[in-house]
Structures are given as structure tokens and as C-alpha cells.
Symmetry: C2
Subunit: 333 residues, 2 copies
């Protein structure tokens, strides 16, 4: 028997504990092309909430479903020749202790401990930061890198990679406490609380030589404000537009595309899979920086499957620092 | 003695013949570091009007000034060792038959006839189209290229270069007549009148495989509409934002940066000087395409210095087809 989180009712407004229930279910048997996985970690992502609102790039989550999510776990039984019991794997799964996954949607992971690093610094968060900054931003030592959502899963690595590459790192985050943490704990040169109302002026002070690279996780007004201070030939790494996801009347930055022309900027979107051929280099560099202390791995691990719904609610309110995940079972030996 | 166009009064609204007067002036003598040029052609550019509104990237034009402009002409007398009588030159000058230019701001031109080609296809218009499309857009044969202001000085070359490179060329222009001309005379695969009110639907029809490259001269709503139909990994060549120059309340495309992220687009601004090291290749390719008939050189030449103000007024109203210039004197022998 294993526990699982069921969506009792789809949320209309805010997601709460009322919308889910925890149930026991018998251990399933994998069919052909399927794999039974014992979950160690569940990745908690803003996208989880979006799935409850309708079809996106994938099918919607419906009432009565076991909640969908990205998991890391150990293969218990396999109905597919590509996987065997004991393999550490990642892929699309469910919020459950025992999950049947389609083998086609699973990837094998290296035998790394702690397993959580395969979700954070050596996983999608770290790789997204690395490929976006290095592959799209093309930073040069001495340049100034600004990142929004700087205390988030990707942002903390963007700033620290920038420092490791000899750049000035400036974070934009919500709240004075997060900002102090970015500079004092993670080595950012400066951090600005966008809720303070003086983003333009504070950026001027924090970036006396202008901005060469802006790693944008938010879009909207923050993007507009940053654009005014970009240097000629600056680069905007477009990673997300979270400010617009819930906007009833989305508004584009009013200085686009004007400033792109005048300042000869490059704005470029990417997804982490575009740089799969550079993954080995990324993991090697990130591992080295972790070893020599240039990157601190901050993880926001919530213990216990039963706390997954609250972990998602908190993430949507900006409560996390670094990559948020839920530990369902301790690392395999 | 030579004639010149004086700004009597700066225009508040629309520029008219009332704001200028034509005067005779004695032939000036070049001092040290100066060159006396007999003007053959004056380039007519939207920027000329912007200079009357205040300082831009250069000083403003004031009441009482001889109107400033980009000219091509022949050196008559030189106070600088880099130039001698008979040289064909281009650079910052004035709307006048005889102009004193600072040698530092002049460039020598090759001995090409007609001289007008050095302003259009082999000059700034052709080079801007070439470098933007080839150097920024990176077109591959079979891709679909859309260009706005397609009947303008740069647009006519963008579409024809796209065809020469094996791409599908689709123009956006104002008016059915211009659109018919683009397809019938210049070989565009399709052209869309943005004033028709069905830009989105007509783009769908004209670009059945989506849009790979958008060469944007206008920004604003047209950019927003085109973005929805860009293909994954598409490129937006940001050359101008003319729709925004007179806007009282500029508005950004509401799908920016969202679609840049989702479609992994690259939007990049440039100026022609960024690609100076590729000029020789550009001129060689453009000359070849003109010779073998793949590029028709369309020039909009207004005869007579006295018609320069009306030529600028017409340009601002979109009356030109191809590069507009004023012929002040016939080509040197």
C-alpha cells in the first residue's frame, strides 16, 4: 500500500488543503512499457497550479486525479527493458509514494548523493540557470548581470554562476529579508526589493556601469524598468514572464521594441532542452563550483507527502528560497 | 553662388513649405580640416524631421540654420590632405548646392555610376537590408521572411534579398496599390495591406508554414500581430519602430516577452555600422544580384533642391516607393 494526493475538487481561486485528500492505494503492477517507481522527491513548480486551470502544453489535471508532478525515485519493478529495479530515475509522475510511470517519459539519473542535488543544482534549476546565462547571455568577466526572481530556484544559481564567471551580480526579489539573504549568504553584490517602489533608482545605484545581461524571469514592469538601463549590445535572457501569468489585462513593456533598436539589444528565449548537448559541461562546471564553495546549494525541502499541497500554496505566494521540493522518502542507500 | 534651403521657422505640427525659404549664398572657402562639396544627391529620411524636434543622437536643427542632411557629392576644394578635388564623397552636409563639410565626417565613395546606387542598393538602404537580414536574421533557404514598411527604402531590398537567398518573401505595406506593386514588380510572394484590417488572417494565408524571420521596421500592433505567427526559434530583426515615434501613449506588444519565452524567439536590434567588416561582401552580393536581375533597384528621385521640403513631407506621409532622394546636380562625368 502507498499514499497518494488526490484532487478532490479543482480550485476556482486560491488552492487550499480543502481541494485535496490523502488516500492509501494498493501497490500497482507495471504493465508492458511501464515502470513502478518509489518516489524520493517531488519537484514543486508554479506550473503544477497552471495544470489545474486547463490544458497547457500538456493535458489538464481533473478532479479525481492523483495530482501530477515531476518526481525523482527508485525503480521497484519494471515492465520495460530499458529500466531495472534499483535504477534512480526522474520524470513525469504523480504526488504518491508509489507511481506507475511510462518508461518513455523517464530518464535514468547518475548515482549522486544527495539525490536532491539532481533536482536543484545539477538538475533542471541549475541547468536552466547555466544554459540561460552562459549559452544565451554570453557573459564576459567584469560585466553586470541582473536577475529577477533572484531568490527562486533558478535565480539563486544565476547570481552565483555570474560571480563565479567574474561578473557583478545584482538580484531583484520581493522583500527586504530575501534581499539581505542574497547579499549576505549567497554573495550577490547587491539585491533590490522590487516592492520598495524605487526599482529604477536602486538599479542605478546597484549598476553604476549599466546592465549588460538581464536574466528575466518575470516580464512586465520590472522588464520595462530594467530595459532603460541596459547597455548598448546588452542581452536579455528570456526565461519566464511570471508577472503576466495571472494578469487579466497583460501589458507589454512600453519601451519594446524601441529600446531593442536604439541599444541594439538581443532578447532571446530558451528552454533547457535546447542546450542538451552542453549538459555534461554544465554539470561538470556546476559540480566544480559547488566543491570549491563558489556555489552554495540552497534547497527548500518540505518533509512529507502530506505537506505537498501546502508547499505548492506557499511557492505561489513566493515563500520559497531556492528550489522547493517535497521529500517523500529518504535517499536510497 | 549656390542655393540653399533655410529653416525659417521650426514646425510645431506638420512641416510645410511655409517653414523654409530658398536663398542664394556666396561659395564658401574651406578652412583647415574642411572640404567644399558640390552636392549631387540629398538623402531624404524620416530622421530629418526628428532633428527639428530637439536633440536626438545629434544636435537639433534650429530656426535660421541651413537644413542638415546626408549628401553625396564631388569635392571642389579641400582644406584636408585626405581629400582632393574630384573625389566622390558621402557624409553629413546640408540641403545646399555647395556645402562645407568637416573632413572627419566624410567618406570617399567608389567611382560608381549611377551615383544614386551608392545611396540606395549599394548604400545605407541596401546595406541595412543585407546586414539585418543576413547578419541578424540568419535565413535558410525555404524559410518564410516577413518585412514591414515593405515598399520603403530598406523593405524593398529585404524582400528581394530574401528571394535571392531562396526564402519566401511576404511584405506588409500601406495600401493595395503598393501591395500589388510589391508582388507584380518586385517578386514578393505575397503582400498585405495593413490598413485592410485583416492582418492576422491575411498573414495566416500568406505564411502557411508560419514565419521564421520578421524584419521589423514599425513595432507596435503590427509587431504584436506578427509575433503570434512566429515559428519556434524564429528571429525578429529589429530595425525600426516607426509606429511609435509619434505615439502620444506608446504601448508595447502585449505578448512580449511571453512569446519570446514560449517560442524561444530571438529579437535583436542592429545598426548598419555594426557590420562594417561585412560591407565588402554585402556590396559584392548586392552588385551580383542587381547584374543578374534578382534585385530591381527602385529609387524615388525628386528633381531639384527646391523640392526637397515637399519630398520630406511626402516621405513622412508614406508617399515614397524605395529610397527617396533629391537630385541637386547630375552625376559627375
Amino acid at each position: 500500500m502507498g499514499r497518494q494526493v488526490i484532487i478532490r475538487e479543482l480550485p476556482k481561486g486560491e488552492l487550499t488543503a480543502e481541494h485535496v485528500s490523502i488516500q492509501d492505494a494498493p501497490t500497482p503492477e507495471p504493465g508492458a512499457g511501464e515502470v513502478l517507481v518509489r518516489t524520493n522527491l517531488i519537484s514543486i513548480d508554479a506550473a503544477n497550479r497552471a495544470w489545474m486551470q486547463g490544458a497547457t502544453y500538456r493535458e489538464a489535471v481533473k478532479a479525481g486525479d492523483v495530482m501530477h508532478g515531476y518526481i525523482v525515485g527508485e525503480v521497484i519493478a519494471s515492465g520495460d527493458p530499458a529500466f531495472k529495479a534499483g535504477d534512480l530515475v526522474e520524470g513525469e509522475g504523480h504526488w504518491a509514494e508509489e507511481v506507475i510511470c511510462r518508461a518513455a517519459f523517464l530518464q535514468k539519473l547518475p548515482d549522486h548523493r544527495p539525490v536532491s542535488h539532481l533536482v536543484s543544482v545539477l538538475g533542471i534549476a541549475g541547468k536552466t540557470a547555466y544554459h540561460g546565462l552562459v549559452g544565451v547571455g554570453l557573459p564576459k568577466p567584469g560585466e553586470t548581470v541582473v536577475v529577477s526572481a533572484a531568490a527562486g530556484s533558478v535565480g539563486i544559481f544565476v547570481g552565483q554562476i555570474a560571480k563565479a564567471l567574474g561578473c557583478r551580480a545584482v538580484g531583484i526579489a520581493g522583500g527586504a529579508e530575501k534581499c539581505a539573504w542574497l547579499t549576505e549568504e549567497l554573495g550577490f553584490d547587491a539585491a533590490i526589493d522590487y516592492r520598495g517602489g524605487n526599482l529604477f533608482r536602486e538599479l542605478k545605484v546597484a549598476c553604476p556601469d549599466g546592465i549588460d545581461i538581464y536574466f528575466d524571469n518575470v516580464g512586465g514592469e520590472i522588464l520595462e524598468t530594467v530595459l532603460f538601463q541596459m547597455n548598448i549590445k546588452g542581452r536579455v535572457v528570456c526565461c519566464g514572464a511570471v508577472s503576466q501569468y495571472n494578469a487579466t489585462a497583460p501589458s507589454g513593456p512600453r519601451n519594446l521594441p524601441g529600446l531593442v533598436v536604439v541599444k541594439r539589444l538581443r532578447m532571446e528565449g530558451f528552454i533547457v532542452m535546447d542546450f542538451a548537448d552542453q549538459d555534461a559541461k554544465a554539470v561538470a562546471d556546476l559540480s566544480d563550483w559547488v566543491k570549491d564553495g563558489q556555489i552554495k546549494v540552497v534547497e527548500d525541502i518540505v518533509e512529507g507527502l502530506e505537506n505537498a499541497p501546502a508547499a505548492l500554496v506557499g511557492l505561489l505566494a513566493g515563500a520559497n528560497r531556492g528550489k522547493r521540493m517535497v521529500r517523500v522518502a529518504p535517499d536510497p542507500a
